[in-house]
């Protein structure tokens, strides 16, 4: 668990992303800021629709119409990706220094090409390898992700593999060019629980061995607890709490985080009823002014109607809540 160097590997500041739909303008990301250091695993948790995927896709430059990055800054290794030079930089960096793993491995792979082709094309493009070198490296990568009979697998098609194996292939592709940052968008959500465990073990193992930074997006707090150094909690397009995993879970500050942790069933208190947070997340076309959680929050007062921002509360701990800051 090495967290070194002064400039963060990735820094996102006040990212604003809008989606233009028939029903109106959906503010998917309303001023998101976070950082990822070298060799660190950041977990981003939140419900569906909280803006987790959108924020990281913006980093990769994958926001397509009808979406648009309205404003904000994204810096990779200190260089901004938002200006003209930055756009060109993104093209070089994407897939090579930052790579991404998506949620559904079946649809993420092209059904008409072999696994081998889908791995080697990355090697051909970024690392200029010839056919033999690429084949060798592909086999190495498949071994790295614990796939047996790698030479045979190279000639197989995605539909001939199981879900877990396909996800391993996705991870292998992501590792192909030895990236410094891997973004994993809910990598285990579409898999069986037993396979989930295997993939998580693999990710833990790779994390230790390769010292690569990871952004892990998930809605499963257990996964965060297992793999991440720091965690950022997202709600309605905002990051509302950031901090080291142990500290945040032991002592959550934001009422939403508290609710999330309470809602996670534990094996110790089997007899208690399941707790949930009353209400539903707001409509992102017309988000409430100020704190988006205030309609559901038991500690809300009029002050919460004014817009909030992340404020530091102690050592490497941020929270976006008037009440939490006052309590601390």
């Amino acid at each position: 668990m090495k967290v070194s160097q002064n400039i963060p590997l990735l820094e996102v500041k006040d990212l604003l992303v809008n989606f233009y739909t028939r029903g109106g303008v959906v503010q998917a990301s309303r001023g998101v800021s976070f950082q990822v250091g070298y060799g660190e695993t950041l977990g981003i948790v939140g419900e569906s629709g909280s803006g987790k995927s959108v924020s990281v896709q913006a980093v990769m430059g994958l926001i397509g119409t009808p979406g648009q990055i309205e404003s904000g800054d994204i810096r990779f290794k200190g260089r901004s990706l938002m200006d003209k030079a930055g756009q060109k930089f993104v093209h070089k960096v994407r897939g090579k220094e930052i790579s991404m793993i998506f949620q559904d491995p079946m649809t993420s792979l092209n059904p008409l090409f072999t696994i081998g082709t889908q791995i080697t094309e990355v090697l051909h493009h970024h690392l200029d390898m010839n056919k033999n070198q690429a084949q060798k490296r592909a086999v190495e990568l498949l071994e790295l992700v614990d796939i047996n009979a790698p030479e045979k697998r190279l000639k197989q098609y995605p539909h001939e593999m199981s879900g877990g194996m396909r996800q391993r292939v996705m991870i292998a592709i992501a590792l192909a060019c030895e990236p410094q940052l891997i973004i994993a968008d809910e990598p285990t959500t579409a898999l069986d629980v037993t396979i989930q465990a295997q993939i998580l073990e693999l990710l833990t193992d790779l994390q230790e061995r390769l010292n690569v930074s990871v952004i892990l997006i998930t809605h499963d707090l257990g996964v965060v607890a297992q793999l991440c150094h720091r965690v950022a909690v997202m709600y309605a397009g905002h990051i509302i709490e950031v901090g080291e995993v142990d500290k945040v879970f032991a002592d959550p500050l934001h009422p939403y985080t508290k609710g999330l942790i309470k809602a996670t069933p534990s094996l110790d208190n089997v007899t208690e009823r399941m707790v949930s947070i009353d209400g539903v997340p707001p409509n992102l076309i017309t988000p409430p002014p100020g704190c988006a959680f205030s309609p559901r929050c038991e500690h809300a007062n009029e002050g919460c109607n004014k817009s909030q921002s992340l404020k530091p509360v102690g050592d490497d701990r941020f929270v976006c809540c008037k009440y939490a800051i006052e309590e601390a």
């Binding site: 960096v93 897939g95 090409f113």
Partner: protein, 306 residues
């Protein structure tokens, strides 16, 4: 693999049998072949003698069995109109239709595929708007009228092309264009919508995330997936043309293919030639269908060769 070919061949055989039976029944039971074949003034005895000679006085099932035997040897008899073997006429005219089809549909593909791709890539752009509106128009215009318009405009008004016939390569231009247009309209809409669908798929996002260049993602990954339904359509268009739909273009331009010959044979009540043409058309359809199935299994690894 062997089983697959066998099954398709059997299916094809059923189709051909079905078609020939229908033609056989229609021509013999509904119409009166002898009346057609002999001049009007023939006496009853002449009729009876002719019937006996051609075997039309025998029970229908025996006629049918003989008929089957004949066509197995590709012997349909002599055309009543041209007094030579019917199949000989067919083999003469078939290449002209094939030429028209290949050039016409080839032209449609060459224009439609890039156009559809560009329309998909630049929504709201000029190619996109022309594609959507133009193909709607192209599908609404009757093919025979289009051909006539071409003739009036290009051959008469501006005198650049000959009006009909098939002597020179420039005779091919207008018929091929007329052949191409409806196919072009259908094809370009399909290419556009298939590409749009594929570009929205997750694997395209993954390919971009891998950092692959735009040309590769669109031209290799998306295009190959979009190509499957497009290929189906092209195959279908070819089949239609060879199964008789070339009749319209051939009639308008007096293009000597099997479509025109079929109409002429029908007009002259030359049942023998008609039977030969229908049989050939049915066989072409079956063969092309089998070839298409084959090509799919080669391209799409998800289909199993059973």
């Amino acid at each position: 693999m062997g089983r697959f070919i066998l099954r398709r061949l059997i299916h094809g055989l059923i189709v051909i049998m079905g078609v020939t039976i229908i033609v056989f029944v229609v021509t013999r039971m509904v119409g009166d072949p002898v009346k057609v074949m002999l001049p009007l003034e023939s006496t009853l005895e002449q009729r009876a003698a002719f019937e006996k000679k051609l075997g039309f006085d025998r029970p229908i099932y025996i006629q049918f069995v003989d008929f089957m035997g004949d066509i197995a040897r590709l012997d349909f008899g002599d055309s009543l109109w041209q007094h030579r073997p019917a199949m000989e006429i067919v083999f003469e005219k078939l290449p002209m239709t094939i030429l028209l089809t290949v050039v016409g549909i080839g032209l449609a593909c060459i224009i439609a595929i890039p156009m559809g791709i560009i329309a998909a890539l630049r929504p709201g752009g000029i190619v996109d708007r022309i594609t959507v509106f133009g193909s709607l128009l192209g599908l609404s215009v009757p093919q025979f009228w289009l051909g006539l318009l071409f003739i009036v405009l290009l051959a008469v008004q501006f005198r650049i092309l000959p009006t009909s016939g098939s002597a020179t390569p420039s005779h091919l231009i207008m018929p091929a264009l007329t052949m191409a247009l409806p196919t072009l309209a259908r094809l370009v809409m399909l290419v556009r919508s298939s590409m749009i669908d594929e570009l929205n798929q997750q694997y395209v996002k993954t390919s971009f995330a891998k950092g692959l260049p735009f040309i590769r993602v669109v031209g290799v990954h998306a295009l190959r997936n979009a190509g499957l339904p497009v290929m189906t359509l092209v195959g279908w268009e070819v089949i239609r043309a060879l199964a008789g739909y070339s009749v319209i273009v051939e009639t308008v331009f007096a293009w000597p293919g099997i479509g025109l010959t079929a109409i002429q044979a029908i007009e002259r009540e030359d049942l023998i030639l008609v039977q030969a043409i229908v049989f050939t058309a049915a066989i072409s359809v079956v063969l092309i269908n089998i070839a298409m199935d084959f090509i799919y299994k080669l391209i799409d690894p998800r289909l199993k060769l059973t």
